[in-house]
Symmetry: C2
Amino acid sequence: MGSIKTIIFDAYGTLYDVQSVTTTLDNFYPKKGAEISKSWREKQIEYSLLRELMGNYLSFYEITKDALLYAIEKHGETVNKQQTKTLLEVYLHLKPYPEVKGVLSQLNHQQLAIFSNGSHNMLDPLVKNTGMKNYFEQVISVDEIKHFKPTIAAYDYATKKLGIRKDEILFVSSNGWDISGAKNYGFHTAWINRKQLPIEKLNLTPDSIYTDLTGIL
Amino acid sequence: MGSIKTIIFDAYGTLYDVQSVTTTLDNFYPKKGAEISKSWREKQIEYSLLRELMGNYLSFYEITKDALLYAIEKHGETVNKQQTKTLLEVYLHLKPYPEVKGVLSQLNHQQLAIFSNGSHNMLDPLVKNTGMKNYFEQVISVDEIKHFKPTIAAYDYATKKLGIRKDEILFVSSNGWDISGAKNYGFHTAWINRKQLPIEKLNLTPDSIYTDLTGIL
């Protein structure tokens, strides 16, 4: 892959640990934090896929709120406005995985970007709050085109915004559905298989597979 | 809803219990049947959504096989060709939920149809093997148009095939994503909430909600 000019990173689950919300959830719902967090994330992804399929786009911020309400209710709990606000604010302060900053520092000869389903009102504060703004030339959100990954339209938007060819891009994600979509579109792909899961059976095998971000160095 | 001329039923999870596969899975993988069955079903649905979004259609039969392979591998097991064949054949003999035949018998003054993401090589033997063929005027598969539910294109295909207006149709499904899609398209909807789950937070509240199929009588 000598022709790679730009590395695009997915945000949630790839650079940032979305399960960082568990601690705050545990404070509100003792011992239920982990399971609510899992439901929240699953529903968040599902709602983005469903809304895209139904032609019913809503920003990822709103979807994240809706998914939270579903998850809380599913686990037999309630949530008030203040708690909702607090939980959504945790998304602006998610922890990067331990190796992330070290790896990004060593990639300073490459053009780096984030491309996420998240909306700018989530991504921009997160990147700033975690001190990671300087690593990236661009933070691109699907909200600019209002089509979620893994549609071809979404990945193509990112390519056009960067102004280079798709075969000059390495796309990095820990999400199976995202890395499959990126491969389907035509990016070089590196799957960060943090949870040691099987390769998705979609006939779209990632070009490289690593257990964490250090693999791409 | 005095204008309802036709009732369309979803198949998997609505008329038929997809967890009937658990017994066979338990024979092959003692004590792991329930968890493999759950993963299998989740992946089956996810792959249909992802393939639709990626513009990469494959029949539900093939998707069901791929999802099985993923689920087996996820739970640290292996599956040979004969076991795969046996497990896929269980899908042709799924158990109807206990109340289903009684309810369908009492709806004999209505036109009834099935509309499913399943392909005909799955649906037709299943309906025949369970002795339910005579209840339905039509068994319609998305495979005829190669767009999965919950796209508008899929529901619209079923409407056109039935030759009536969408506001003359009651759509019945136990799947939250499916009943939301049907509402989004414009069907009257009855959600069979078998698992006592929250209403999906998609601003598409079903017109009626029942715990099993007897509610629609």
